[in-house]
Amino acid sequence: MESKKLKKITAVWIIVVLTLFVISIVLGILMRLNQGGVLHHAPITFYSNMTIHGITMIGIWFVAGMAGINYLMERYVKTSYSANLIALILTVIGVLMLWAVTLIGKFHTAWTFLYPLPLRVMWAQWATPVFLVAMSILTTGWLIWGISMMTQVLKKYSIPQAFAWQHFKKDPAVKTPPFILISMITLVGVVTCLLVAVVLMALYFAEYFSKGSFVNDALLMKNLTYFFGHTIANEMLYLGLAVIYELFSEVGEKPKWKTTWYVALAWNFTLIFILTAFLHHLYMDFVQPEGFQIVGQIASYMASLPAAAVTVFSVWVAVYRIKIKWTLTNLLFFIGVAGWVIGGFGAVIDATISNNIVLHNTQWVPAHFHTYNILGNVLFSLGFFYWFSIQFTDKVVSEKFSKLILSLLIIGGAGFLLAFYIGGADSIPRRFSNYPAEFTTAKPLANIGAAFATIYLIPILILFYNISKRCLKILFPSS
């Protein structure tokens, strides 16, 4: 079972993630208010905020997923506390450096840091190397953590068993739990995209220190950036799904879900195709060969649809006409799956070449990725955080605020997203610090978005307070 040290480190992860989440939401609201003309930040301030907002959100929900699966993995295999601790320390160092780089150094390339932006210094001279070092530190910590968990799984399961290939035959001798299957599939993807980040950082460093004697190929750098960025943003969703496969039935007091041939097949599809889906970010790059663009579209469908289909089917079968115990945890999971599917649908629309010509770089893009994050992945992790926090409390936890929390999350989240979707359908470009008068709906939509985001922030603050309070008690039991 879970050790005391694991309990404590998971509590620390949760507090860190929630604290940074609240700050990042505030930054997001400030950005929307600036786009709406209510605030008048300098463009550099806007883009610095956008950079730190993006990097922090991606980073925290990735580590939230990792912390979640690390905690639950202890049920099946012994995990490494040291790797977990190293990841925590390096994450804190990396995040502090990134915040310094953006807030003090005014580094503002957006979290995608597309080549050659980081090397075209328009900020403090020190910011670029520190940014690259911070990214390398984060990559190192997460790589150690990912490889460590992968190793622990392989100590108990062979490669075919870890990927549940034996389930393609009838009555397999060894049954792979869905949690292990999805965790393993995801960890392989995570390690791959982190290795991509290593290559990317090495190429950036090479150009930075060569002083012009070595330059990078923009096409290679863009491919690598999205191979890393797109993949990690998707893998963190799958980390959350692994948690759902483990906890959804358990919280509802129902038998555990089992791996079937179609679950195994769908997730193996995800493993293969998620690594090439990033190519849809390069549809507008005419120098990318057409074959790659076609692979990008096919992979985008194949990576998401099978996994979504089996997950929705599993959740539906688990709740349809079945009396289960509903708690805030599985309600967050349930709504999260709906948000993930809706956002995923928006993503597949955008990943279709004929649509991308219209939607590329419009507000449709933040619309879909915010959908599967704020109403998807975030809820997966919040569900886990809540479940974790009530495991070790002696008091009976009242769920009287659950309905209020869920209602505000849905109303706030849906309103915030709708402002983005309508903006996208109206061809309003994204990433503008201020909108010219020609985009007549851009400003009101931005302000509506900010207002609904503030509504979304209220339940987050309630959860932050309650969960953090319980996590602090886990950390300091005597207090």
């Binding site: 791959t192 290795l195 190929d217 290679l220 491919n223 191979f227 120098v287």
Partner: protein, 255 residues
């Protein structure tokens, strides 16, 4: 006919010269793109004085920088430009502005140049001088060097494409063919212009290497970097699995 032959001979005789110039580190086609050109006051032959922004606001401008006492590239450069632009005769979507960067040139010199080229009164062409030439040349990164021995400027053959908002959208160095000029005219009219990077010896890991002869891309070393992480992960997975199995066997053996 004779004029054409002489022009061609002159062009060929200067080809090597222009090639040498294009490799100069200071002048690159990529510099100043999407930067504003300096708004210099102009004296235009046969027209009223105007500022540069008044000129490009009427229609996009292709700026050609020359000097009338030039014994080098200027004449073949302008002759070639005139001939190549014949495919755009009567097209009023752009104007070629021939601007002297030599302070010694006056309006008479420029008028004579226009007459010699047979472009006097041509709506598509304008010949001008300016008092603020150094600011203007600086804004397009054009840096002629005075050679006192030859009493000539050492300079490149540069065309600068400027759109109606005054932004530099494209630059062409050297004597260029119709296809390049077509792209230049497209870019100053805000039409998307596909381009490919210039060959660079310092770029070791390209995904694809463009072959200008065949017009095709060949796979480059960079593609290996795209596949490498997946190969490394697979190797890592197999290695860990083998190591774990070996250590398990050793433990069983010891027990």
């Amino acid at each position: 006919m004779l004029k054409n032959i002489v022009s061609l001979l002159l062009i060929f005789s200067f080809c090597n010269f222009t090639d040498a110039q294009t490799t100069s580190a200071a002048l690159k086609e990529e510099t100043n793109i999407y930067e504003r050109v300096y708004d210099a006051p102009l004296q235009v032959v046969g027209q009223q004085s105007a500022t540069f922004d008044e000129l490009y606001a009427q229609r996009p401008v292709i700026l050609a920088l020359i000097f009338t006492r030039c014994t080098g590239i200027c004449n073949p450069f302008l002759v070639k430009l005139k001939e190549t632009l014949q495919f755009k005769d009567g097209d009023n979507s752009f104007r070629v502005l021939v601007l002297s960067f030599d302070p010694r040139d006056n309006m008479n010199d420029m008028h004579r140049l226009a007459q010699n080229l047979g472009l006097d009164g041509n709506e598509q062409w304008a010949f001008a001088i300016t008092e603020n030439i150094s600011e203007l040349t600086q804004s397009v990164s054009f840096d002629p060097v005075w050679d006192s021995a030859r009493q000539q400027f050492d300079h490149d053959a540069l065309l600068v494409g400027i759109n109606k908002e005054g932004y530099i959208t494209k630059k062409l160095i050297g004597l260029r063919e119709r296809g390049d000029l077509d792209l230049l005219i497209g870019s100053i009219n805000n039409v998307f212009v596909p381009t490919y990077r210039l060959p660079n010896q310092n770029m070791l890991f390209s995904c694809f290497n463009y072959d200008p002869v065949t017009g095709k891309n060949k796979p480059g070393l960079g593609l290996i970097f795209l596949a490498l992480p997946a190969v490394l992960t697979a190797s890592l997975l197999i290695s860990i699995s083998l190591l774990v199995r070996r250590s398990r066997r050793r433990k069983v053996h010891l027990n």
